[in-house]
């Protein structure tokens, strides 16, 4: 609050006798996160992707959904930098708009599954007994089904192929791994003396769960979250490739790969370019995930 607003953490902002912390948490985050080239590259990729998604209409003058049959299956040229598909739509334009679809699906599905998985995992670990048994057995059943089958099942049952149905299918598939990871983390954190100490000062179960266990258990969650975005984008591509994901004419990278495979020998760019976009996005988010983990984990403080 007073001299250096950046350096005082929210808790202490109220402090009457605000002691100046010696090193700002934020600066440490920046130092660790941007201090390594790989994380920086990942961050730049993600930044470019997010930028592309937001400003898509400014980056291309074509309409991603409008057919132009006379101009179909062109190889790269001055007008269509990456060529056109079998409907005559500009590939670059569709990749640019596809970023939006991928990111919306990626973020929503991962956030939904993270929130649900975290609550389930924490509750299972902390309350134990029948709560643990029920939650973990449900998670086991979900894990036993191959992810793609589960997603196909849900996407197939909820006909329509809209973006939100894909989000639901992918998000639902992501709950079980999140829940298991959180539960494992919480079970090991629970063994610590400070949890007993928290009990000894009279904290309730609920409070211990959120103030003691969660803050110690969540670093892998951040990694899981960012990497999960990559995974979900892959999943969406898979579903679209199989024809049960986002339906035409909405531009989706997975759908574009599928559309292009028929022309793989004559015009490989059709499949290659959206595939490359998927790869870059997954790589970028994985790198950012690693960077964030290293930067926020207080147990690594002082080591890096």
């Amino acid at each position: 609050m007073p001299e250096n607003p950046v350096e005082s953490k929210p808790d202490d902002a109220m402090g009457a006798i605000a002691a100046p912390p010696r090193r700002s948490e934020w600066r440490r985050f920046v130092r660790v996160f941007f201090g390594r080239k790989l994380y920086l590259i990942g961050f730049i990729i993600v930044a470019i992707i997010v930028f592309t998604a937001i400003f898509a209409p400014l980056l291309t003058s074509y309409n991603p959904e409008k057919n132009d049959l006379p101009a179909r299956l062109q190889t790269p040229n001055a007008e269509h930098w990456l060529g056109t598909d079998q409907m005559g739509r500009d590939i670059l334009c569709r990749i640019i708009y596809g970023t939006r679809v991928s990111l919306i699906i990626g973020f929503s599905a991962v956030f939904a599954s993270t929130i649900a998985g975290t609550i389930m995992g924490l509750a299972a670990a902390h309350y134990g007994g029948w709560v643990f048994a029920v939650i973990m057995r449900v998670a086991d059943v979900l894990m036993a089904l191959p992810a793609i089958i589960l997603m196909m099942l849900i996407a197939g049952m909820l006909k329509g192929g809209g973006i939100w149905i894909v989000v639901f299918a992918l998000g639902f598939g992501g709950i079980a791994p999140m829940c298991r990871m959180m539960c494992g983390q919480a079970l090991s954190v629970k063994q610590n003396d400070y949890v007993m100490a928290a009990r000894a000062v009279g904290m309730s179960n609920w409070r211990i769960m959120w103030t003691q266990i969660f803050p110690n258990a969540y670093p892998p969650l951040i990694v899981g979250l960012t990497m999960g975005i990559g995974g979900v984008v892959l999943g969406e591509a898979g579903l679209s490739f199989l024809g049960i994901g986002v339906q035409a004419p909405t531009p989706s990278w997975g759908g574009m790969v599928m559309d292009g495979q028929r022309f793989l020998l004559t015009n490989p760019l059709l499949s290659l370019m959206p595939g490359l976009a998927i790869m870059l996005l997954v790589f970028g988010f994985n790198m950012v995930g690693d960077g964030v983990r290293d930067a926020i984990d207080p147990r690594l403080r002082g080591v890096i």
């Binding site: 808790d11 202490d12 400070y194 007993m196 000062v201 009279g202 147990r299």
Partner: protein
């Protein structure tokens, strides 16, 4: 009237191998402003007794099956271990200092957060007041530069300093009794002495009772006013500190005192005599005295009769033994 009156406390653990009577008919009391020592070897039930009083025994496998814990006229064993009433007492009136200062503080929360948490929880303080009080507490326990240090994380503190933070946490709500479970075992001797002096000072000043659980006889000799000696889940001798150290009456206590060196004793004047054998395995114990296999004073009655109850052998001096060693 004692501040805390523990009567025939029984805490059992159900293990795969059988029943473990970790605390068996443990009876002790704590008066206001008194320093009590609870002594015994590892695994004799000291910590279990304390944790039972605090209702912190993990269940399963543990279970407090009998006895009474009377605090402020109420039996704490009647409450739910994690219920509202018990939580209101824990951390405010009855507090604990744990053995391991390195792991008893949450590594991801600042010291300030951990100290103010208790204050906000029990005393309904707002953030500003809690912070001021936390700084005051840190000063009290001798953390230098408290206003700056309070925003540090536990890993930025040394072991001794962390234990001071733990003491500050235990003191924060002006408790009636502090249970210190081997508070100085994990720190070096110099720090140990500092911490004990500090605790004695603070509890005397604040008129708080202190229960020191330890296997270190030197610690209790210097600080405790009354001592309870435990063996295999039972209290086998209790009395005033000077009586226990001056005129021990139970063969185990005698053996214990014979086996430790004393400061100021000239080399060679007294031979240290160990207690032979090992403490018994607590699983499915026989009815007879648990110390019997190691006892040098046993008589025929010991083999046949069950482990005797505590009996008075002097003014406020009790032993649970058929033999009474006088004048040793």
């Amino acid at each position: 009237m004692a501040l805390l009156d523990v009567q025939e406390l029984q805490t059992y653990f159900h293990t795969e191998y059988g029943l473990v009577k970790a605390a068996d008919k443990v009876t002790f009391h704590v008066n206001e402003g008194e320093i009590i020592g609870l002594v015994g070897e590892s695994g004799c039930g000291k910590s279990v007794s304390i944790l039972s009083v605090m209702r912190l025994i993990p269940s399963p496998p543990g279970e407090t099956v009998g006895g009474k814990v009377i605090f402020e006229g109420k039996d704490l064993l009647k409450y739910q271990p994690n219920g509202r009433e018990m939580r209101a007492i824990r951390g405010s009136k009855l507090t604990m200092i744990f053995q391991e200062p390195m792991t008893s503080l949450n590594p991801v929360l600042t010291v300030s957060r951990q100290l103010t948490e208790t204050l906000e929880l029990h005393l309904d303080m707002d953030k500003r007041a809690a912070r001021e009080r936390a700084i005051e507490l840190l000063r009290m326990v001798g953390v230098p530069d408290a206003p700056r240090r309070i925003d540090d994380y536990p890993h930025q503190f040394s072991g001794g300093m962390r234990q001071r933070v733990m003491i500050a946490m235990a003191l924060s709500c002006n408790p009636a009794i502090i249970f210190a479970d081997e508070p100085t075992t994990a720190v070096d001797v110099t720090t140990q002495a500092q911490l004990l002096e500090l605790m004695k000072d603070l509890v005397t000043r604040l008129n708080t009772s202190l229960v020191i659980v330890t296997h270190n006889l030197g610690v209790v000799a210097r600080y405790a006013e009354r001592i309870y000696v435990m063996y295999a889940g039972r209290i086998i001798e209790s009395g005033r500190s000077e009586d226990i150290f001056g005129h021990p009456r139970h063969p185990y206590t005698v053996g214990l005192l014979n086996s430790v060196p004393r400061l100021g004793e000239r080399h060679g004047t007294r031979k240290l005599i160990p207690i032979y054998g090992l403490p018994p395995n607590l699983i499915n114990m026989p009815q007879t005295c648990a110390f019997l296999p190691r006892c040098t004073e046993k008589i025929g009655k010991c083999e046949k009769e069950p482990w005797p109850e505590l009996r008075a052998v002097g003014d406020d001096h009790y032993i649970s033994c058929y033999v009474d060693i006088k004048g040793k």
